[in-house]
Amino acid sequence: MPASSAFFSRRWVRLVIALVIVVAVLLLPLALPEFANQTLARIGVFAVAVLGLNVVMGYTGQVSLGQIFFVGLGAYVTAYGVRNDVNIVLVLLASVLIPGIVGLVIALAAARLGGLAIAMVTIALPIVGVPLAKRLSEFTGGSQGTSARFSDAPEWTGLYDDQWQLYIVILIGGIVFLLTRNLVRGKYGRAFAIVKENEAVASSMGISPYRFKVLAFTIASLIGGVSGFLYMVVVQYTSPETLSFGHSIQLLAAMVIGGAGSIVGSLLGGAYYVLAPQLTNAVDPSLTAVLQGALLLLVLFVLPGGLASLPARLQRLRRRAAGGREHHPGAPPTSSTDVPTPAATKGTQTERHDQS
């Protein structure tokens, strides 16, 4: 086990794995049937939305119940821009910036209250958003909703629409994931973590909790806007229903079940958001909400780190079981006995390093 983790931590191995994944992801849309491509594209859309929620909630520790509002706003801006024949690059920019600005304004007020006030204010966003979207029918098409077809595959590509759309989602979603990953692993990510851990400590270190909470919320709104744009790429239709309260809660559940404060968890969360309703509907449609609520509570009880923490959790359990069997927990695990001695000692070292 330690030997295999040493193997996976080698630089060239990781590069090869990354390359294989990239090639697989690029070829996948060509090989899969239409329905699978569409499902994958929707997973990508909501993975981006969950990623945004993760920035404000998973990494900065501010409960937000309003992320779906920014997704819906991005979708509406996209639809409006497309229907008015605005250049698509400008549409993308606007569908990112407008939710970002709205998010900034809301955060400027909500972050002042501190504590759980952001949760209490953001719960209003979907609940105010739905009637607002119905009212502003000039822009939104009222309760009928609005559609925009702009993501059909161009003639020269020779691709089907679903393949083209999935490629757009992979490209834009991939860029957002990469940028966010760099953000949360860099100095801003560390500042977020300190704010999450202890606001008083953050202040004493010269990190303004207020400023970083506002920043995290704004970034989450920007990412929500991107998700809204991608939503229009894939679904091509939005209505007030898109930003309803129930969806906001499902998004939060998806984030927690996928894994709060985890990039992989965001992907898993997007998959959960899209696949779980399909599965529970197959079991019994009237039980969907019960199953989802029960699953959320179950994950919080059993696996607080979400699905993303499952491998680490299993490894720990296995290690404990192995240690218990030999009655001397300090010894290297059994699997290292069939490896030559230097590798075994190396294994113990990494083990100690893990534990410290």
């Binding site: 119940l65 002042r112 209490m120 969907t288």
Partner: protein, 293 residues
């Protein structure tokens, strides 16, 4: 003038329902430091239970009282078997747990009683009485009176009884309370139970107006949270006043501000919060930071 008075009284009665839910939120928050987002869902379940009893032929007032008792047990059980595990840990996780509870309880209501609207009988006659020339519904007056009575009862409980003293002690400092021999766990269960009772009353009062559906309390919960922010977490009277202000203002705005109308009046409390936050940057209950040299 007649319309105005009618709007104000109706607003007070709506505000009273938000106040009941807001008081429940404050009660749990004071004892445990967390916001229970499931409070609205629990109130809906209580209303369904009252409706179910009434459907069995139990007189309405008795059905509501029975649902209040069941709700007390429900609140206590939820505290003991779900929340207790998370009370000492990260408050964000605990909040997500209450959101999970909200989903679960709403789902249970929809599963047991479908998502269709159910007619909930009104506790008060549908007549109107004339107040200063305005036709005011008896239901509005009744709702307000019931909430005022409950407020006084709660105040009496907290200030005049031994249980109230113990509850306050746990809220102020659970560790010291435990050192002085108070059964903190049991008191927390009582706190959750009482909060659920308040929710049950709120549910029974608003259900005739909105008709009973699993998502009935979602909007009311938002108003209640707004009242909690405006009124201040530690002041029950402030919360009730804020709830009344919100109820009256949204009712007036719906009629007198053409753009807002009935569907957008839910935005009113948040515009209000926004203005308050800009005028009072530290927030209504935030401490002003003091720099000592």
């Amino acid at each position: 003038m007649g319309t105005f008075i009618q709007l104000v009284v109706d607003g007070l009665s709506l505000g009273s329902v938000y106040a009941a839910l807001a008081l429940a939120i404050v009660l749990v928050n004071q004892a445990t430091g967390l916001i229970n987002f499931a409070q609205g869902g629990m109130a809906v379940l209580s209303a369904y239970i009252a409706w179910w009893f009434a459907g069995l032929g139990v007189p309405l007032i008795l059905a509501i009282l029975l649902s209040v008792v069941v709700s007390f047990l429900m609140g206590a059980v939820i505290e003991r078997y779900v929340m207790r595990r998370f009370e000492q840990g990260d408050p964000d996780t605990a909040v997500v747990v209450t959101i999970g509870l909200l989903t679960l309880i709403t789902g249970v209501c929809g599963w047991l009683w479908t998502y269709n609207n159910q007619q909930f009988p009104s506790l008060f006659p549908l007549d109107t009485v004339s107040v200063f020339g305005a036709a005011v519904s008896v239901r509005s007056i009744g709702t307000t009176v019931v909430i005022i009575a409950i407020m006084l009862l709660l105040q009496g409980l907290f200030l005049g009884t031994k249980l109230g003293l113990a509850l306050r002690a746990v809220a102020v400092n659970p560790q010291s309370a435990a050192f002085s021999g108070l059964p903190v766990g049991r008191l927390l269960m009582v706190g959750w139970g009482l909060a659920a009772c308040l929710g049950a009353v709120a549910g029974a009062l608003i259900a005739p107006q909105l008709t009973l559906t699993p998502g009935m309390m979602d909007t009311a919960l938002v108003y209640a949270l707004a009242a909690v922010i405006l009124g201040g977490m530690s002041s029950p009277i402030g919360v009730v006043l804020a709830a009344w202000i919100i109820g009256v203002l949204e009712n007036l705005a719906a009629v007198y501000v053409p753009f807002i109308g009935y569907d957008l009046k839910v935005a009113v409390p948040f515009v209000l919060i926004f203005i308050v936050l800009i005028v009072r940057p530290q927030g209504l209950f935030g401490r002003r930071s003091v720099v000592r040299v």
